[in-house]
Symmetry: C2
Subunit: 326 residues, 2 copies
């Protein structure tokens, strides 16, 4: 019988690796720098080392590990295990799953990190008991993953869940994707910081500027959150505007998919929940059909930085036919 599985959250700056028992309980975890600048082969070696490190830390023989799940930045193809493009890692078209499998000799399962965020919250976090949910993360960018009928839903090409690129402001600000007025371009941490910097350029935003040590270029979403938390009306207005746009994006999801739950994670949500909540909920209520609005619940993400690793654990467990927590 399956003793343990390993979940790995592979990011641009760090690798977070978790050893979990078949019931999902965490036995050990390690975090190391990715070291992407050392190249693909070295990163693979390092990932393999973390797998043996968590085993060693828990006093578990590697022979007790049944499967390894990995969440990686997309776009990637879970079916053949190829990462098509990972700009943060400098990779293009790498047969990641097979290359890691050759090093580890365990079955390896690969998914993109947004989908694993959804699976992590669904299995171990705020999404337990839900069957039709979306996970939305608002941090530097805005991303998302779908769980439909209790399974990750990737659509025809594995790329479903891209709520960050729904147009919410026609002819609005340019987005990194090449579009205009995408949700990400008006409600991400990056967009919030840019709005504050624009304010400062116009000679306003004094409180925000002071908190950034008088340097407009040093303003981040966290600066704005700090000022808003201290009652600064300009900072609050910027966050409220982002919340209204988030509500527009969520309303599209609610009308299209009639989900029972939307889990909201990422730094921007975490640090501003109380402040964003009312506006977001009002904006959603105004734009969603009534029956669909009544059916959906909004909840803060519960797993924090562990979400990717735990999602990868859940992926590995599903890979070998187990479903912790339903």
């Amino acid at each position: 019988m399956a003793g343990y599985v390993v979940g790995i959250d592979l990011g641009g700056t760090k690798i977070y690796t978790v050893l979990a028992a078949a019931d999902g309980e965490i036995a050990a975890e390690v975090e190391v720098p990715t070291g992407a600048e050392q190249g693909y082969e070295r990163v693979l070696d390092r990932i393999a080392e973390t797998v043996f490190a968590v085993c060693s830390r828990a006093g578990v023989g590697p022979g007790a590990v049944s499967a390894v799940g990995v969440g990686a930045p997309g776009p990637l193809d879970p079916g053949n295990g190829v990462i098509h493009q990972a700009p943060n890692l400098g990779w293009r078209k790498v047969p990641f799953r097979d290359d890691l499998g050759a090093r580890l000799r365990f079955p390896v399962y690969l998914e993109n990190d947004a989908n694993l965020g959804a699976l992590g919250e669904h299995t171990y976090g705020a999404g337990r008991g839900s069957s039709e949910m979306m996970y939305v993360t608002v941090s530097t960018g805005v991303g998302g993953g779908l769980i439909l009928r209790g399974e990750i839903y990737g659509g025809a090409g594995g790329g479903a869940g891209e709520i960050g690129h729904i147009t919410v402001v026609p002819r609005g600000p340019r987005c990194g994707c090449g579009g205009r007025g995408c949700l990400e371009a008006v409600a991400s941490g990056t967009a919030i910081a840019r709005r504050a910097q624009e304010l400062i350029t116009r000679g306003a935003g004094t409180e925000i500027l002071t908190r950034a040590g008088g340097e407009a270029g040093a303003v981040t979403a966290a600066t704005v959150a700090g000022a808003a938390g201290a009652g600064d009306p300009e900072a609050r207005a910027i966050l409220e505007e982002a919340a209204v746009h988030l509500g527009t994006g969520l309303a599209a999801v609610v009308n299209l998919l009639n989900p029972d739950l939307i889990v909201l994670g990422g730094g921007v949500m975490k640090h501003n929940w109380a402040l964003l909540w009312d506006r977001l909920d009002l904006s959603l209520r105004e734009q969603a059909l009534e029956a669909a609005y009544r059916r959906v619940r909004l909840a803060p993400a519960a797993l924090g930085d562990r979400v990717g690793g735990l999602g990868a654990v859940a992926l590995a467990l599903r890979g070998i036919g187990l479903r912790p927590g339903g």
Copy 2:
């Protein structure tokens, strides 16, 4: 073995009933007025009569019928067969499936008409071979149904697919749902007619007005389509604007669900395909992520007015475990 099934498209003004063999081939069809004003019981009787009428017309004994599928205006609950509300029929909370089942003594399956439109095109029409598709109908209103992993997707409450109420113009025109700037409020046949009437009120739209016999109140989407077809630039501009908004709504679907196909039906699409197509495609391309845009195909609906009846046939066949055409 299953000999035949019956599919019924129950509308506000007419009942369309189809008898089909287990391979999906149509043996007979009838259409009668709904007569909703005569009340719920009389409509049930009339539906039952059409079932026997198609059998008689095809020379098939009712004993050879294995199941009956019905598409009805929603919101309704396919699970318990209750129609919650059907304003066109004047019904509220009627146990339709059981009441019709008691009259027919066949197993009855119920679905909302937008979802059956999707299933009909998926099984017999433009959606054959697709597994992740959306069906969008643009007529008086804008509606839609989803087929995900080859199955109708209703979401948590059976109400998924409501693309008509995605906000595409923030603070735009009022919609019948109570919202503002919904796709339906700016791209439906009703919205197209209203835009033309506004034009006429401002003293313009001469060609459109002439085609409506000089009466602004008589202008419909068909009037606008006729004028546009004859080259009238004002009529063309109205349709092109609707096409841009449709593109915005479809881009939300494409980014969120990464489908392989969107089937476009309804009178407005049917009568203006060539005219709408370029603008719609351009708007979609500008607003969808590139990989998702490349993955999706847009196709005109193939089944016309038969789509609901054929969807109901497919529902009945699936109810008894058969899947014509995949």
